[in-house]
């Protein structure tokens, strides 16, 4: 698949190729079928040989302006026209415009008798005429093996076939011959020995009652090619092939973020949400709200005006819309505006590969910004786990290449370890959310963890996850002695805390009042003491005053006595001299 194909530089040895225009086939052949050579398409009944061949012509005529000749040995042109009309191809129109020539070759052994030597020049002339009349570049012979049943002389036939393929080469047309699968060989009559350039094998296998169409390139001379079996799909727009392993690990990594649609969850994921183009997995048991998260994400994307593709494998579109309305999300408006596209199908509708091809196709057509797969686990119903892993890794790779954010939900079996979730899948995912039922106190509540989220800081805490009629809400949970508290236990705990707070508040208030009171008391006491002191002081002052008064009175008395006794100065000068002084001053 690496080959430089339609060589721009005409190297002498480079094989030129003719693009088929069929989605995927050009990728695995590295550009298309070998130009100017014959390709054999073989396979069992009903595996799509004729369709592939016809689409090769149709696309050649419409996309590459290369007219084609369809030589049918099995179906009349009217039948072909009818059959392909159901696939949206209007053969009559192309024939009228000279872009397609259909020649029905009828051969029936009972109607023809053989007598002696002959050759198939008539066939050559018809083919040559058809090619020349419209200037055909592409030719299909479907299926030339009919000649073997129509003509008895195999020796002549084989010689003529060899000549036919040489004739086609000389004409320079790129041809497809189809061949029915034989029991031991690729084709019943060994056509592969004539067509040596390119052999494509189609199969239609059934495993667990589910049919899967596969294609393999058995041989491609002069070119490298994908060697695996590639699943392909036939639907109303024709063929599409899905290359399995052409994708490498070199996808771009965006630093842009997209909101999860749940503000609190954005906060948990480093304030911004998921990375654009990353892959998100939500695991949870039944009824934990996975689809609701998906709906939130889709709703947020549509609100931003981005297109969202929703693959639902369990519910119908109307059911999802109705259910999401109950949590306050109106998805219908986005459907009406063409922003939200639902693709609902049962997982068992077809095999896993088919789903992948169908998903690819839908993505190609709609080019969404986000893709939701709800749930990936139901795809496992279709096949085994290893296949699912390989399919998912291809899907995720593909989405990353396109920078499409993938949101997958995964239903985990109740009772098993949730983190078991398909070892393979989780390693593909960038962000992994786990929704869990927490059973306590006679009720189940939902809890949400972020198990991992590559390349961003994220919360390590569990959050309670509540579905209300206004959407998803995340709440803190309480870690109590008996584990995590959720639901009514959490409500109770909240009430208890509120009560405790109230009590504490009251206590503080009463203490404060007590302080006030004490202060008042002390202040009163201080005032009383002051008053007492004043009172005592008054008394003291009085006593002092009295004492002084008595002193003066005494001195005055002495003076008066001495005067009255006519004593001059003599006894006066000692002892009583000071008192006299004082008294004199007063």
């Amino acid at each position: 698949m690496t080959k430089p194909t339609k060589s721009t530089k005409p190297g002498p040895d480079v094989l030129q190729k003719t693009p088929t225009g069929i989605k995927g086939l050009d990728e695995i052949t590295g550009g298309g079928l070998p130009l100017g050579r014959t390709t054999l398409i073989c396979g069992g009944t009903g595996c799509g040989k004729t369709l592939l061949a016809m689409e090769f012509l149709m696309r050649g005529a419409l996309q590459y302006a290369e007219p084609g000749v369809f030589m049918s040995f099995e179906e009349k042109s009217e039948e072909l026209t009818q059959n392909f009309a159901s696939l949206g191809f209007d053969l009559n129109d192309l024939v009228a415009r000279g872009k397609l020539a259909i020649d029905y070759v009828h051969i029936e052994r009972s109607e023809v008798e053989e007598n002696g030597e002959y050759d198939l020049a008539g066939l050559f002339i018809r083919l040559g005429y058809a090619i020349d009349s419209i200037g055909a570049k592409r030719v299909v012979l479907d299926t030339i093996e009919a000649l073997f049943s129509g003509l008895a002389n195999e020796t002549i036939l084989r010689a003529e076939l060899r000549r036919l393929f040489r004739f086609l080469k000389d004409k320079g047309v790129t041809a497809i011959v189809t061949g029915e699968q034989g029991e031991q060989s690729l084709t019943r009559y060994g056509l592969e020995e004539y067509v040596a350039d390119c052999v494509i094998f189609l199969s239609h296998s059934i495993s667990q009652q589910i049919a899967t169409r596969r294609m393999r390139i058995i041989k491609y001379r002069g070119s490298s090619h994908g060697t695996n079996e590639y699943p392909f799909l036939i639907d109303e727009s024709g063929f599409s092939v899905m290359p399995i392993s052409s994708l490498g690990l070199d996808h771009p990594a965006s630093i842009k973020r997209v909101s999860t649609g749940i503000p609190r969850l954005d906060t948990m994921l480093g304030e911004k949400g998921y990375y654009r183009g990353s892959s998100v997995l939500v695991t949870g048991t039944a009824g934990t709200g996975k689809s609701s998260m998906a709906a939130h994400f889709a709703d947020a994307a549509c609100r931003r005006g981005e297109r969202c593709l929703y693959f639902a494998f369990e519910e119908s579109q109307n059911q999802i819309i109705r259910n999401m309305r109950s949590i306050g999300i109106d998805l219908e408006q986005w459907v009406a505006r063409g922003l939200l596209i639902f693709q609902n199908s049962r997982p068992t509708l077809y095999g896993l590969e088919m789903h992948l091809v169908a998903i690819h196709k839908a993505i190609e057509i709609n080019s969404p910004a986000i893709v939701i797969v709800d749930p990936i686990s139901s795809l496992m119903a279709a096949t085994n786990e290893a296949d699912v892993k390989s399919m998912l890794s291809r899907l995720i790779d593909y989405l990353k290449m396109k920078e499409i954010t993938a949101f997958c939900t995964d239903l985990a079996a109740t009772g098993s370890s949730l983190e078991r979730t398909d070892i393979g899948i989780s390693s593909l995912m960038d962000t992994w959310l786990l929704l869990q039922n927490i059973e306590a106190g006679g009720e189940r509540n939902r809890g949400l963890y972020i198990l991992k989220s590559r390349g961003m800081e994220h919360s390590n805490q569990i959050r309670e996850f509540i579905l209300s009629n206004s959407g998803v809400e995340l709440r803190d949970v309480y870690i109590g002695s008996s584990g995590v508290l959720t639901g009514s236990a959490r409500t109770t705990q909240e009430a208890v805390e509120r009560a405790e707070t109230l009590v504490r508040k009251q206590e503080i208030e009463s203490k404060q009042r007590e302080i006030e009171r004490k202060r008042t008391v002390i202040e009163a006491q201080v005032a009383a003491l002051h008053a007492q002191f004043e009172a005592e002081k008054d008394v003291m002052d009085l006593v002092i005053a009295k004492a002084k008064l008595r002193d003066e009175t005494l001195v005055l008395g002495n003076l008066a006595i001495s005067r009255s006794r006519q004593v001059s100065d003599l006894p006066h000068q000692q002892g009583s001299a000071a008192k006299t002084g004082k008294g004199g001053r007063k």
Binding site: I107, E113, N115, R126, G128
Partner: protein, 110 residues
Amino acid sequence: MTNAVKKNPNALPKPAAVAERWMLRLYVAGQTPNSLIAYANLSRICEEHLKGRYEIEVIDLLVNPTLAKDDQILALPTLVRKLPEPMKKIIGDLSNTEKILVGLDVRPIV
């Protein structure tokens, strides 16, 4: 040998009893050995067994390739018995006379 219609010179108005006309058409592609042999064989047999009651039309597909489609011609040379009905086809150089007589329902005139 082009697509010219060659009438047997003896096939003049000869209103035979039932007058079963034999319209034979021989498709060829140019003058290949096989087609020459086939024409020679056919002429001989007709002369011997259907004298005066047949027409041979030789169509060269190299000249008129579109005619191949109408009679569903694949192998060459092909002899087509247009009349009498039903149409019959014999491919090959007609080297086995017995087989032709049986194939064309021509019984030797006794």
